[in-house]
Symmetry: C2
Subunit: 340 residues, 2 copies
């Protein structure tokens, strides 16, 4: 079984973007009516999924994708808390419809109604709704709702604790995932995403978060940002900062996905990071859509890189499914109910 | 011959920090006298160098270090342009004294008197002084003088062009190097440095800087941040953004050092990045000072990682010295004058 832990609905029917455009227009002109989502038929959803994510899932031989709203479109920095909340509900509900249409192929991961300067406790309600009412199995937590200005406290700050308490209570992990950047220094998928991954990991080294929340679990996407490449630096910094070894201080609670788009990167990831901390992901259809001229295959066809590894079958199975089922207990329960 | 392209004077005599402390005190109380550097004897400089950088240089078998002021102490975000200028001159002059005492072992690379919101043209005078009067061979350019708030324009913006014109005229490269972070999200050496490296590279992909300045040269330190690990992502993004292949678009002008503190990271770097784009560096005595318990050797003893590579001797020599002499023509001229 192959579970792709990192997929976004980047191909939603145009009515979704029209809703967002209405929101943006109303931010400029408050006299306009509140945004309202036009009817989206099941056929339109099927079309958007079957010609994209489901097609690629089948072609590449994956079984199920943990599916969340388009990450770059979360754009928590736009508008206020009400804007973010309305947008988030619409996006999550659409994910739920995809999952309802293809319960064998997708499981839901929710966006959160974060907004700069707004307490994270305000996002608990939507998390709870998505998990308990819509059956979602995880969430995407944005460490920088300002979109590249980094005005929120570090993830180890007590600012975030109310939300972590809810995550632990509901037994769902979070993927640490920023959104679009409104800082011209940071290209979203080429800098902001990767920087956020690296930043979060270093925050976890500096802090003591997992002493307070031993069952809290984070996936750091995009192969852990720069971390595996600089694994010696992070081991050395932990030592300099008199932190415990990373294996016990951070790596009981933090996992990296395989969204690294070339074989040498995946080789490094698997060489330095414990197999138990790696979960299969492709981020498709997403950040990098093209074909690698050096291989003739899609950059984001990450299954090929895992297949090419010299690993025991049991270890590959951990990367492809076993670790995800452990990190996402609600996914495991769901699959078990499906007899898988 | 082995040239370490990345060394900082992290062990300067305490009089330097006292000068800085006077500056900081005066920022709080402008009634205080302007900071003045106490006399530093040659003996004090010799002591600080011979027990640290020179000792390690000899132990590890390097011949010469490109030596610049402590990067984390540049702290361009503190005070104003006058503060930064006075601090920079003192720091650079001290580097010059080290070089004068050990002309076979060190060559100077200067700090710049950058300050948030101040035109970069104001740094040209100090660059010119260091290069033409003090004999320095390069500079460290900070893409984020705000110290973690990223308020300056991207490096490809015309904001920076006057400085680039001076770099080209003087034929000196710059290392892209941020300083301390005053943003609690970013640990300096564990996040801010690595993020800045990644960010700069992506800016170069997005822009057309090297069309305007075909002879401009940058070293991106710390092994290029996250870039080699995500080399597939960057090749794919260049393709998606309809940029030319990276080999011609960026890699004629951009070089990565070897400040990657474990063997698998160096293995990856050399596997995916052209040998002509890699320059030896250790960043010592610096970011990570300890001994790797898995090897028994210092994390930052990067020569060992290069020595362990299966590479043709001519390729190793490029990494150790040849590339640096090409990228730093003034260093090459200096070494040639020394008969090396």
């Amino acid at each position: 079984m192959i579970i792709d832990c990192h997929g976004h609905y980047t191909t939603a029917p145009s009515a979704l973007q029209q809703f967002r455009d209405q929101q943006l227009a109303r931010l400029k002109n408050p006299a306009l009516a509140a945004a309202a989502l036009a009817h989206i038929s099941d056929a339109a959803i099927r079309e958007s999924i079957e010609t994209n994510q489901l097609k690629l899932q089948r072609e590449r031989g994956a079984d199920l994708t943990l599916f969340s709203p388009r990450a770059s479109a979360m754009a928590h920095h736009i508008g206020d808390a009400a804007t973010s909340h309305a947008w988030t509900v619409v996006c999550n509900d659409l994910i739920q419809r995809v999952v309802a249409l293809y319960p064998q192929n997708f499981a839901g991961v929710c966006q959160l109604p974060q907004s700069p300067g707004v307490p994270i406790a305000d996002s608990i309600g939507e998390l709870r709704r998505c998990v308990t009412e819509l059956g979602f199995v995880g969430c995407n937590l944005n460490p920088d709702p300002s979109g590249g200005h980094w005005t929120a406290p570090p993830l180890t700050d007590r600012h975030w604790y109310p939300f972590y308490e809810a995550m632990v209570e509901l037994d769902v992990p979070a993927m640490v995932h920023v959104s679009a950047s409104c800082n011209p220094n940071f290209h979203a998928t080429g800098a902001h995403y990767i920087n956020a991954d690296t930043t979060a990991f270093m925050q976890f080294i500096e802090g003591d978060l997992f002493k307070d929340f031993p069952n809290l679990r984070f996936i750091i996407p995009h192969g852990g940002g720069a971390v595996p490449y600089h694994w010696g630096r992070y081991r050395g910094l932990a030592d300099m900062l008199q932190r415990p070894p990373l294996a016990e201080h951070v790596m009981r609670n933090v996992f990296f996905d395989t969204c690294v788009y070339h074989q040498p990167g995946i080789d490094l990831l698997v060489k330095v990071i414990d197999i138990d901390n790696i979960v299969f992901g492709s981020e498709m259809v997403g950040a990098v859509r093209g074909i690698d001229p050096t291989t003739g295959h899609y950059f984001d066809d990450t299954r090929r890189y895992i297949d090419a590894l010299t690993l025991a079958p049991a270890d590959k199975q951990k990367i492809f499914a076993g670790n995800a089922r452990r990190i996402f207990p609600r996914l495991d329960a769901l699959l078990t109910r499906q007899g898988r």
